[in-house]
Amino acid sequence: VPYMSVKCIDVRKNHHKTKWLMPWGPNHCEKLKDFDEAVSRQIEANDIVFAVHIPLPSKEMSPWFQFMLFIMQLDIAFKMDNDLKENAEITLDVSLAYRDDMFNDWEEIAHAIEIRKLKCTFGSPKTLESEGRHYDCDFLPFMEIGSVAHKYYLINIRLPVNERKGINVGIGEVKDIRLVGIHQNGGFTKVWFAMKTFLTPSILIIMVWYWRRITLMTRAPVLLEKVIFALGISMTFINIPVEWFSIGFDWTWMLLFGDIRQGIFYAMLLSFWIIFCGEHMMDQNERNRLSGYWKQVGPIAVGSFCLFIFDMCERGVQLKNPFYSIWTTEVGTELAMAFIIVAGICLCLYFLFLCFMVFQVFRNISGKQSSLPAMSKARRLHYEGLIFRFKFLMLITLACAAMTVIFFIVSQVTEGHWKWGDITIQVNSAFFTGIYGMWNLYVFALMFLYAPSHKNYGEDQSNGDLGVSSGEELQLTTTITHVDGPTEVYKLARKEAQE
């Protein structure tokens, strides 16, 4: 929602107590049309307040909006003798207040003095002719709040000028301040919550079932099973609709918490892919420990740690000061860039490893496939099972990843709406829920299909005569899951036989 600020005059001569200036409504402030008026009335810069009330008249904010994000745009006019300096910095004295009732007093939430860099370009030649034209300025990050617990918000911005300290000197002729507010649509939040509440128990149930399967076995769970289980846990962690609490409570750390939860899930998913590939290497190496994967998991850990630190710096500090942004200072920008670059390098490293491993697996598969007919039945089944379940996972993983990438591209290209006749479909929201549901299904399927089987376990392992009579679905499950359980037994048996 775009908001245009209203220029108010602070008529009180002594600024000892903060009073809030309203842009409109019953006791709105004394308005100023433009600054020529201010010159003639000899009003000082410090007495001019840009006031923005959120939301617009006859509306109110609701906790369903989840978060608020504000962007500031400055309208700066060109004037020959009041030019914008290179690398000008603007100092803002901002304060934010709230109230839940139209007639209550405003309560302060935050007050800060912020410095923002101006990045502006001027399209026309800087001559007397084009005086009055406006600069084209990049928008500036202004504010971010992780919860919308109140009905009305008020922002007051001052641009204090101090010539001696060089504050707000050479910022050109600031004509207007515009803010753009972004928040999540209430409808989307409701659909999202409903989805989460529905998905949590389903993932939870399959997790319990999966864990029961593992404990039913006589051996300790292998690494792959543990990882799948951990993936389930992190999915549940994302799913648990703790956001319901944000409707009732003013928890501003919800955004940060959400980021952390997503981060954990991504890290888990990436580790799972690596370990899954490793376990299907079929090169008889013993890898059943996490330490065997340090090379691959290391980058994930470093990368997610970097992103975590970055996020803490940005959103963590915003808990205290909603106007803070790491990108506004020189050092902050460099630091942030460093974190992101390190994380990016880690990600690239990871994908190199992953591709290499997948390649290795495929090479081994083709090697094994050529020698398959010569093997004994049990061994053949074992390898066929391995190959089948690897290919199956590759397929669905690729499908899911492709869907996600397509979604991402589409959402970047379209502007969020597709018009089909009169019905406007919000593609973005639909895609979001779709993708989220898809990854849930992915984890669900993973746990369901890759759970170790306890059936036919005792008597069938020697002849490998697996669930012939059972249905197709069960056959699939048993074939692909059986192998993982008895792998160690097979190995031992083979070694003994060879000896």
Partner: protein, 325 residues
């Protein structure tokens, strides 16, 4: 009680404004808060017109002296086309800006049209962006209400009004911001921003230079003017939506002439060395010019501070100015 006072006030105000068409007066009475904004918008359009034509023989001077509403150029010329377009665009611009400032009550939430009749519910469910469509719609309702006579001029005016609004609409800028996990681009929000009105002025000035002459096609039965076509032999093309159109050639605006609405260039300042329209030869239509010598005193070496602090030296210089005879 309060609303009746407001209504009474609105009645008085609306009846006092000169130059309103009956339907405009009705709109004024139903939306008294809007009339101020509309007035500002129209004024903004006229100011822009005067800025754009400050060096021309015709300098928009006839407009906006008594009232911002209702004055018009008698001749259906390019200049008339420009004033209509810029006023319509100005009203739409001002209404849209006032909406985002919160100065207008019940501004359209653009989602209203999508089936959320309860505004409060619609806002909570889908949010909204107070957008240009409301401003354009308002401008259409108000500015176009002036055209009551059914003649060729009406068609021309309506076309130019629409062209002005269309130019404004096309110049709306789309800006986006990413705000996904840790500020990544997984989620992106886009919104439209109003262009600066000066920019619209420059574009319309270009359109003015490229304006097309049209003539009226009358429907066969009632001989009513129904639509416009580009005036060319053997052409049955309609003008483009964003083109400014005119039906009559412009007068030369040299002499004062009440019948064409020209105020003449007598007494206008001109530039002796310029070969362009502001040069004395062009401006004074060959009547010659007077030269005054005087000592010009102005403020120089100014030091500006935002917003309203100016410290200047006073400089003086002997200069001469030229005014048309």
């Amino acid at each position: 009680a309060l609303s009746s006072v407001v209504a009474l006030g609105a009645n008085i105000i609306c009846n006092k404004i000169p130059g309103l068409a009956p339907r405009q007066r009705a709109i004024c009475q139903s939306r008294p808060d809007a009339i101020i904004v509309i007035g500002e918008g129209a004024q903004m359009g006229i100011n822009e017109c005067q800025y754009q034509f400050r060096y021309g023989r015709w300098n928009c001077s006839a407009l906006g002296e008594k009232t911002v509403f209702g004055q018009e150029l008698r001749v259906g010329s390019r200049e008339a086309a420009f004033t209509y377009a810029i006023t319509a665009a100005g009203v739409a611009h001002a209404v849209t800006a006032a909406c985002s400032q919160g100065n207008l009550s019940n501004c359209g939430c653009d989602r209203e049209k999508q089936g959320y009749y309860n505004q409060e519910e619609g806002w909570k469910w889908g949010g909204c962006s107070a957008d240009i469509r409301y401003g354009i719609e308002f401008s259409r309702r108000f500015v176009d209400a002036r055209e009551i006579k059914k003649n060729a001029r009406r068609l021309m005016n309506l076309h130019n009004n629409e062209a002005g609004r269309k130019v404004l609409e096309e110049r709306m800028k789309l800006e986006c911001k990413c705000h996904g996990v840790s500020g990544s681009c997984t989620t992106k929000t886009c919104w439209t921003t109003l262009p600066k009105f000066r920019e619209i002025g420059y574009i319309l000035k270009e359109k003015y230079n490229a304006a097309v002459q049209v003539e009226v096609v009358r429907a066969s039965r009632l001989r009513q003017p129904t639509f416009l076509k580009i005036k060319q032999i053997k052409s049955y093309q309609k003008p483009m939506e964003t083109d400014l159109v005119y039906i009559e050639k412009s007068p030369n605006y040299c002499e004062e002439d009440a019948s064409t609405g020209s105020v003449g260039t007598q007494g206008r300042l001109c530039n002796r060395t310029s070969p362009n329209a502001d040069g004395c030869d062009m401006m004074c239509c060959g009547r010659g010019y007077n030269t005054h010598q005087y000592t010009k005193v102005w403020q120089c070496n100014c030091k500006f501070h935002w917003c309203c602090f100016v410290k200047c030296n006073t400089c003086s210089e002997r200069t001469e100015v030229f005014t048309c005879k």
